[in-house]
């Protein structure tokens, strides 16, 4: 057994240097049973995402600085920020975190709704909030349709799509509340979404009663 002169400990035969102080202990390296594999701490995939993130943040920072210097305010650089943030949130994040189909779908719809709000803000600074009373309800209606189809196709599944439909019903009802708080009235778009959401939930209670309540109990246990 080799011995490190600095630390006084015996060092495994396979090691050239003492793991404690790094001092050289021998020239010969022998494979031993306590050996660990050599690992490259960074994979190419991770490096790709890190470089992409760095380039994106760099582009945003340069745009903001130039905009502030030239226009003394954030004008066109807001479009750059949104243009970078949206693909990162809706595409890169689901890919990085290995999202499943249902989650990718959700983030896709969130992205679409965010894009509508962005366009609304850009065109008329929400003086006429059409993204809220028309755009978002239409997106939610499409989302509900897709979820209903997937719920029917995967009716033997784990209940994720049933929960998606419930969440959409709750979202629609919440948006009715937000409408009254924000616009002091509610538009037909959210009423339609909420009515459809309630019908979905009632249908689930009737046709998939056991599974649906078991799923609710599981996810809402206090």
């Amino acid at each position: 057994m080799k011995r490190c002169r600095k630390c006084g400990v015996e060092v495994d035969e396979s090691l050239r240097n003492c793991p404690l102080c790094g001092a050289h202990v021998n020239d010969e390296a022998v494979r031993s049973k306590t050996e660990y594999p050599q690992i490259n701490p960074k994979s190419k995939k991770r490096m790709f995402w890190e470089i992409s993130l760095f380039i994106s943040l760099f582009a945003v920072a340069v745009s903001v600085i130039l905009d502030l210097i030239v226009n003394k305010t954030l004008s066109w650089s807001i479009h750059v920020i949104f243009g970078v943030a949206l693909p990162w949130i809706c595409f890169a994040r689901p890919l990085l975190l290995r999202f499943n189909v249902r989650k990718r779908l959700s983030w896709g719809f969130f992205g679409a709704i965010a894009l509508l709000f962005y366009l609304n803000g850009w065109i008329n600074v929400f003086t006429e909030p059409w993204a809220f009373w028309l755009g978002a309800p239409v997106a939610v209606l499409v989302w509900q349709s897709v979820s209903e189809v997937l719920c029917f196709v995967h009716r033997e599944g784990r209940g994720d799509y049933e929960m998606s439909l419930t969440k959409l019903a709750v979202l629609s009802l919440a948006c009715i509340g937000i409408s009254f708080l924000w616009l002091k009235q509610c538009t037909w778009g959210w009423y339609v979404c909420a009515a459809r959401g309630v019908i979905d939930v009632v249908a689930l209670c009737i046709f998939a009663r056991e599974k649906y309540f078991a799923e609710l109990k599981k996810r809402l246990h206090v």
Binding site: M1, C7, G8, V9, E10, V11, D12, S14, L15, N17, C18, P19, L20, C21, G22, R31, S32, K33, T34, E35, Y36, P37, I39, P41, K42, L97, R98, N100, R158, K218, R219, L220, H221, V222
Partner: protein
């Protein structure tokens, strides 16, 4: 197919398990590893066969972590676990995707490792799983074992007690709760390793020598190791040119199973923080002080109060009805404030691992590795088997400051330490 043990597809996390998903971040989650180094190279095909046989004996392992609105929960996972060759650093982040197992079985050269997300089980549960896996592996390799002792055999049916949340069973509100306020403690800092890198250093020594060193100072091996760790940290702090000197506080886990008569394979461990104020201590004085602290404080009353404090927090109506993301934020903060910032180092000792005599020739040694801590840079563990004790340090800083100081203390006491690891 349902999880027959529970007769349902999901179950709640136990009290101790709840903190780990709440405190997880994109860079960290709580993973630890138990390994056995065999005397022959590991055969992955046999290991897979052994795992296929063993996994149904441990239904609490066959789960994935899901998000509920108020709490996380475990969902039964039908897909079988697959053994994998070691291709990352020890205790790499566990993918908490809701589709993967919360443990993995890895092999490399002569080593079989089981890595577990801490919510699933604690050290005792994990070592039980590894022992059963090793027993089955050796049986397939041709070993014939007459008496398996306390090892859970893969052919036995899992008992309901093995899946109980013992924290909830053992609560006794009349005994009071623990005060949890402790000031900050000294921590060794240094240049950080790259993200995802965990440097592991094993110090292998004869148990007899360690036992004699402890016995000559009138303490147990556990106390001796805590004392050596504390002494090493105090010595290190003396070299540092900081005006504010902090106490050294080591977190020592307590296996609550023996005290409360539980055989659960889920989490059921408490902890006690030993404290030594900064000063000019001799090693013998530290041993005396720590012995008094550990013997005087780790009592059934302390453990009962520990359980009460934890469960009272969980059962608080305001906390229960708060949405999960709010709870997680609060729990993450408390994980830092009353957890890792008040500790100098975590130390865990699984003690002497006992295997049937027929398997002694198959296995060289056991190792226990704590994964990266969230706010601390060092952790120390210990495992003994067949007269061989392996003290393992895991760190996320480049310089092995603590292990260097620690093993110096041991070699000064005449203990022959052989070191190896995955660094350099």
């Amino acid at each position: 197919m349902k999880n027959e043990l529970f007769d349902r597809e999901w179950f709640k996390l136990d009290n101790a398990a709840k903190i780990y998903p709440a405190a997880k971040s994109s860079r960290w989650n709580a993973v630890f590893r138990m390994s056995a180094v065999l005397n022959q190279e590991v055969d992955p095909d046999i290991l897979q066969l052994a795992l296929d046989d063993v996994i149904n004996r441990f239904p609490t392992f066959r789960v994935t972590l899901k998000r509920g609105f108020f709490w996380y929960y475990f969902q039964y996972l039908a897909k079988p676990p697959v053994v994998e060759e070691e291709a990352s650093y020890p205790c790499a982040m566990m993918p908490l995707t809701g589709r993967d197992h919360l443990f993995r079985v890895r092999y490399y050269s002569h080593r079989i490792s089981v890595e577990v997300f801490h919510s699933v089980t604690d050290g005792t549960g994990c070592i039980n799983f590894l022992k059963t896996l090793l027993l089955r592996y050796c049986e397939i390799c041709g070993a014939h074992v007459e008496d398996v002792g306390d090892i859970l055999h893969y052919e036995d049916n899992p008992a309901p007690e093995e899946a109980e949340d013992s924290f909830s069973r053992c609560i006794d509100k009349s005994k009071g709760v623990l005060p949890r306020k402790e000031p900050k403690a000294y921590q060794i800092k240094g240049q950080r390793e790259k993200r995802g890198v965990l440097d592991v250093t094993h110090g292998c020594m004869p148990f007899e020598q360690l036992h004699s060193a402890a016995k000559s100072r009138g303490c147990t091996v556990n106390t001796y190791l805590v004392a050596a760790l504390t002494y090493a940290m105090l010595r290190r702090q003396r070299y540092e040119h900081k005006t504010k000197k902090l106490p050294v506080r080591v977190q020592v886990p307590i296996n609550l199973r023996k005290i409360f008569g539980s055989s659960t394979l889920r989490n059921f461990a408490g902890y006690y923080n030993t404290t030594i104020e900064y000063g000019d201590w001799s090693f013998e004085d530290i041993v005396k002080e720590l012995d008094a602290q550990l013997k005087g404080n780790i009592t059934p009353e302390y453990c009962q109060k520990f359980i009460n404090s934890n469960v009272a927090l969980e059962k608080n109506p305001v906390i229960r009805i708060a949405p999960r993301f709010l709870k997680s934020a609060v729990m993450d903060m408390s994980f830092y404030l009353v957890g890792e910032s008040v500790m100098s180092c975590a130390f865990s000792n699984i003690g002497n691992v006992i295997m049937p005599k027929e398997l002694q020739g198959f296995i060289d040694r056991f190792e226990f590795v704590l994964g990266a801590q969230k706010y601390m840079d060092n952790a120390m563990t210990c495992a003994s088997f067949a007269g061989k004790t392996v003290v393992t340090f895991s760190r996320t800083i480049k310089d092995p400051i603590l292990e260097r100081e620690f093993f110096k203390v041991l070699t000064e006491h005449g203990i022959d330490v052989t070191v190896d690891g995955n660094g350099r």
